[in-house]
């Protein structure tokens, strides 16, 4: 890691740290495990200037140049025009940037874009792609689970990840399971109802009003 590089004498800062972490492809992103890093194979120096990477977004490979310190969230929002995920806290607290990476619910602001290579990145946009609508989306509409809506895509993706693993949740499990997202407008009452309704629709094979199964 470049932080052990004797030439790297810069004072410690978050950005500097991100830069340092990004300088090796095997470097540990905040959420990547050493095993994952190893599994990716060769240790190849990258950066600090922008480097070309390929990201698999909603099943499609996308080529983009990223700086090693750039988060997956910023890359998606700024360079790939996938703006559904929002940047709010930028520190893994609020959940506005929630996406599903390799079948795991993740905060896009805590993953470096270079560490997302070779992983399956699923964003909110995938829930209404190719003429299909995932039942969670209409469930949010029916239950008025959005006001300003800035937190909403994050909630929808958190709900998707939660229901993928808990198809038959209780009310209390919903409250626990969606605890990683914050809303300032106060939409929680609607969100609770929406998630339960979506679970029902998904289980029954029946779809919430307006949904076409995805």
């Amino acid at each position: 890691m470049s932080s052990k590089d004797p030439k790297n004498k810069k004072p410690f800062s978050r950005r500097g740290f991100m830069q340092g972490v990004g300088a090796g492809a095997s470097a540990v992103g905040i959420l990547a495990t050493p095993e994952q890093a190893q599994a990716q194979g060769t240790v190849k120096a990258m950066g600090p200037a922008a480097v070309p990477v390929t990201l698999t977004v909603n099943g499609k490979p996308m080529k983009v140049n990223v700086e090693p310190r750039e988060t997956l969230l910023d890359t998606l929002r700024g360079k790939l025009d996938h703006t559904g995920a929002k940047r709010v806290c930028d520190r893994g607290t609020c959940g506005a940037c929630t996406m599903i990476v390799d079948n795991k619910v993740q905060y896009g602001c805590t993953i470096l874009a270079i560490d997302a290579q070779g992983r399956q990145i699923q964003t909110i946009e995938s829930l209404t792609a190719n003429g299909k609508v995932h039942p969670i989306v209409p469930a949010f509409v029916e239950n008025d689970a959005q006001q300003c809506g800035y937190c909403t895509p994050g909630f929808v993706m958190a709900a998707k990840g939660f229901l993928d693993k808990n198809p038959n949740p209780t009310y209390d499990q919903v409250k626990e399971g969606l605890g990683g997202n914050l809303c300032r407008c106060g939409t929680y009452v609607g969100v609770r109802k929406a998630v339960l309704e979506a679970a029902k629709a998904l289980r029954g094979g029946a779809t919430a009003k307006g949904a076409t199964n995805a």
Binding site: R15, E67, R69, E70, D74, G78, D81, T83, G84, A85, K86, R87, V88, C89, D90, R91, T93, C94, A96, I124, E125, L127, T128, V133, I136, V137, P138, F140, V141, E142, D144, A145, Q146, Q147, C148, G149, Y150, C151, T152, P153, V156, V174, K175, E176, L178, G179, G180, N181, L182, C183, R184, C185, G186, T187, Y188, V189, G190, V191, R192, G210
Partner: protein, 716 residues
């Protein structure tokens, strides 16, 4: 003049029926484009250098190195050498660069030498404020000393409610792009029709050169009216970058530091009265800060303005901290918390049920009958008679349950607004209005009003808002939007329909005044056999559309909207006296709403108001570092908001009632966001037997109140 009045309550087909918000799908699918989502060809990113010191002067500033950094397109300084800075986070210099990381690199390369000066950031310690405390002068009514002497009971308490930040999830900011001398402006704003004028003034250009577009925005709560220096500097960075579009949004720490706060309030209060609950005297010594400029006085005693003997002293304290902005019901949460905590303490002192104390004194308020009806309703919904007990009388276990109540009041009359309705020969209807939907459901509400007025359905109306090319509508503040936009829409629709009636009357062989639009048809009143479909009627227009406007004039709302909303909330909590954790069981909210257009979004407004203030009651507080003078918790980890499991259950009762309906439309956003904090604070006092003087009711504050060395009770 046409009859603009609302259709009678029992004849409405669209209004009053729950309708999904029109932009629900766009938002829930992530397809809605917010200002911060705007990406333009060749766009560069703006980043601000802010002051690390709460009070200082700039000795020198050197941007030479920054100018040469990779990707930099512009560097600007707004606090040159000699400038005095009055709060940490104040803007000093600005950089635009091809990427955001590059802009941040360049900001770090700016060399600034500061001359650090003493600061003051802790207004709770009023004795230390010195000349920074500006007394407002004593206000007295009646004879307080005499009333205190004659009273059967006097309560005395200290109450403190801190500075909060708006914490809009979408930060303040905008994208700006010059096209020649014209500008495209995508702000996150509460004021689509007026924000261009504000920016134009800063830039000294005609407002007509600025085109504003904003379909969605991620929260404002009172903090997003002006274009701010952020807008002006974004425009200048764009100019200096050769006209490239610039995206500049505050980062989270800056957002929480300088983008607006709710002022604090502190008070020592005495309430005196008789054994039967009659309140005879109020005495308060209060102080507050809204940042460097001080700030206003909360309206106390709140609602019970008729207390016969009153003595009030207030001081506004200037601190070296980011300034106040309007915060969803400005000064009302503070006033409500101070007043209803003090009255509840008086009730406890004379060992009376606080509900009965409130009812006993309703004659001291402006709306006795309304409040009594609402109090009784809330009392029944909250199971008050069964669950309420004398203060602290909550059993021997560690978990203590308690109930608390508080009232609210708000204006909420409609703002000035104009709407244009176009009826096209193909039967389509367009509604244009320079208003904004902050997430309260404005889009949906105007569509419902137009549909109702034209005898159509909501999908028949194409709503166009969020653009300053449309007729001017006021900023969204003070819960004035729904009254304004619904009234102007109603008038525009009625005016347009009149024109349509003139065109189709000959074909129906009828007097235009005898026509009505119902169920997608134009028909003769009382003779539905003489009718024609909406589409056929519109074909009579030939090639030209009808385009009519309607205006809401706040001086003459013509009964369509009004002001003056009451409201009652009751909180039910359980407190663990070992850990100090307050758990929300339930909040019951009785909302006074006048005529309700869309019950679904109206109810969401009330949920939102309650939840926002559960945050304020239990966890939110801006914490200042006294040594450094900075905000200690300028992030979302330590500036706490409630999550989905922290809020308990919320039961809303919209006070839909013919008596209320005939008052017209009243705004709802603020009245629902006032009394929750006071109700929760009272519920905690009821549960644990002592007043926790400071909100938020964090474990620390609760335990200090229970066991702190200055308290009467001890752990033994």
């Amino acid at each position: 003049m046409p009859n603009y009045s609302w259709p009678p309550m029992d004849q409405r087909k669209v209004m009053g029926k729950a309708h999904n918000r029109l932009d629900g799908f766009a938002k829930s699918s992530g397809r809605a484009k917010y200002p911060s989502d705007v990406n333009r060809e060749g766009m560069v990113y703006g980043v601000i250098l802010t002051s690390p010191h709460a009070h200082c002067t700039i000795k020198s500033i050197d941007t030479t190195a920054a100018q040469k950094m990779p990707g930099v397109t512009a560097v600007r300084v707004t606090a040159p050498a000699g400038t005095e800075i009055q709060w940490a986070g104040a803007e000093i210099a600005w950089v635009a660069a091809d990427t955001e990381p590059h802009a941040r690199d360049a900001v770090r390369a700016i060399q600034v030498a500061y001359n650090v000066l003493p600061h003051f950031v802790s207004e709770e310690k009023k004795s230390k404020a010195g000349t920074r405390a500006k007394p407002a002068g004593e206000q007295t009514t009646g004879d307080v000393d005499e009333a205190l002497k004659a009273a059967d009971g006097v309560s005395e308490g200290y109450y403190a409610i801190p500075v909060l930040t708006h914490s809009c999830l979408e930060p303040h900011g905008q994208v700006i792009e010059w096209k020649g001398d014209k500008m495209e402006y995508w702000p996150s704003s509460q004021a689509v029709s007026t924000v261009a004028g504000d920016l134009a003034q800063q830039l000294k250009i005609p407002a007509s050169q600025i085109h504003v577009s904003m379909d969605y925005m991620g929260g404002g709560f009172g903090s997003k009216f002006p274009s701010d220096i952020w807008g002006a500097e974004c425009a200048r960075l764009s100019k200096d970058s050769g006209g490239k579009p610039v995206k500049l949004f505050l980062d989270r720490a800056t957002e929480l530091t300088i983008a607006g706060v709710r002022p604090s309030a502190y008070a020592n209060i005495k309430v005196a009265g008789k054994k039967d609950g009659t309140i005879t005297a109020w005495q308060s010594e209060s102080w507050a800060t809204g940042g460097f400029t001080g700030g206003g006085m909360p309206p106390i005693p709140y609602i019970f303005t008729g207390i016969p003997n009153r003595r009030l002293n207030h001081a506004a304290i200037s601190t070296n901290a980011g300034g106040a902005r309007a915060w969803r019901a400005p000064n009302h949460q503070q006033a409500c918390f101070l007043t209803f905590s003090a009255i509840e303490d008086f009730a406890a002192k004379i060992k009376m049920d606080p509900v009965e104390v409130l009812v006993k004194n309703l004659g001291l308020t402006a709306r006795a009958a309304l409040y009594e009806r609402q109090i009784r309703k809330a009392q029944e919904m909250a199971d008050w008679k069964k669950l309420w007990h004398q203060r602290g009388d909550s059993g021997s276990g560690n978990i203590k349950r308690g109930l608390g109540i508080a009232l609210s009041t708000w204006g909420g009359a409609g703002h000035p607004s104009e709407c244009r309705i176009k009826i096209n020969p193909d039967g389509s209807v367009e509604l244009e209005q320079g208003t904004q939907d902050l997430g309260v459901g404005t889009r949906t509400v105007v569509a419902m009003v137009a549909a109702e007025s034209l005898g159509l359905t909501v999908p028949d109306i194409k709503v166009k808002i969020g653009d300053n090319a449309y007729p001017v509508s006021g900023p969204s503040g003070g819960s004035t939007t729904v009254g304004g936009v619904s009234s102007s829409t109603r008038k525009a629709a009625v005016n347009a329909l009149e024109q349509l009636f003139l065109k189709v009357a000959p074909a129906l062989n009828a007097d235009p005044a005898k026509l009505e639009a119902v169920g997608g048809k134009i028909q003769v009143k009382g003779d539905p056999s003489k009718s024609m479909t909406w589409k056929a009627a519109c074909q009579k227009l030939g090639v030209s559309s009808i385009s009519e406007t309607g205006k809401n004039d706040p001086k003459n709302p013509m009964g369509l909207n009004t002001q003056g909303a009451g409201g009652v909330q009751i909180a039910d909590v359980s407190v663990d006296v070992e850990t100090g954790v307050v758990k929300m069981n339930r909040v019951v909210a009785v909302a006074d709403c006048g005529l309700v257009i869309n019950p679904k979004t109206a109810e969401s407004q009330v949920y939102g108001g309650v939840i926002m203030n559960i945050c304020g009651a239990l966890m939110e507080e801006r914490v200042m570092d006294e040594t450094l003078g900075r905000v200690l918790n300028a992030d979302m980890e330590f500036y706490k908001l409630a999550g989905i499991k922290d809020i308990g259950e919320i039961v809303v009762h919209m006070d839909v009632h013919p008596d209320n309906d005939k008052r017209g439309v009243i705004g709802l956003g603020e009245p629902s966001a006032i009394s929750t904090i006071a109700a929760i604070s009272n519920a905690v006092a009821n549960a644990i037997g002592v007043r926790v003087p400071r909100v938020p009711l964090s474990p620390d504050h609760v335990l200090t109140a229970l066991y702190g060395k200055n308290m009467e009770r001890s752990r033994a």
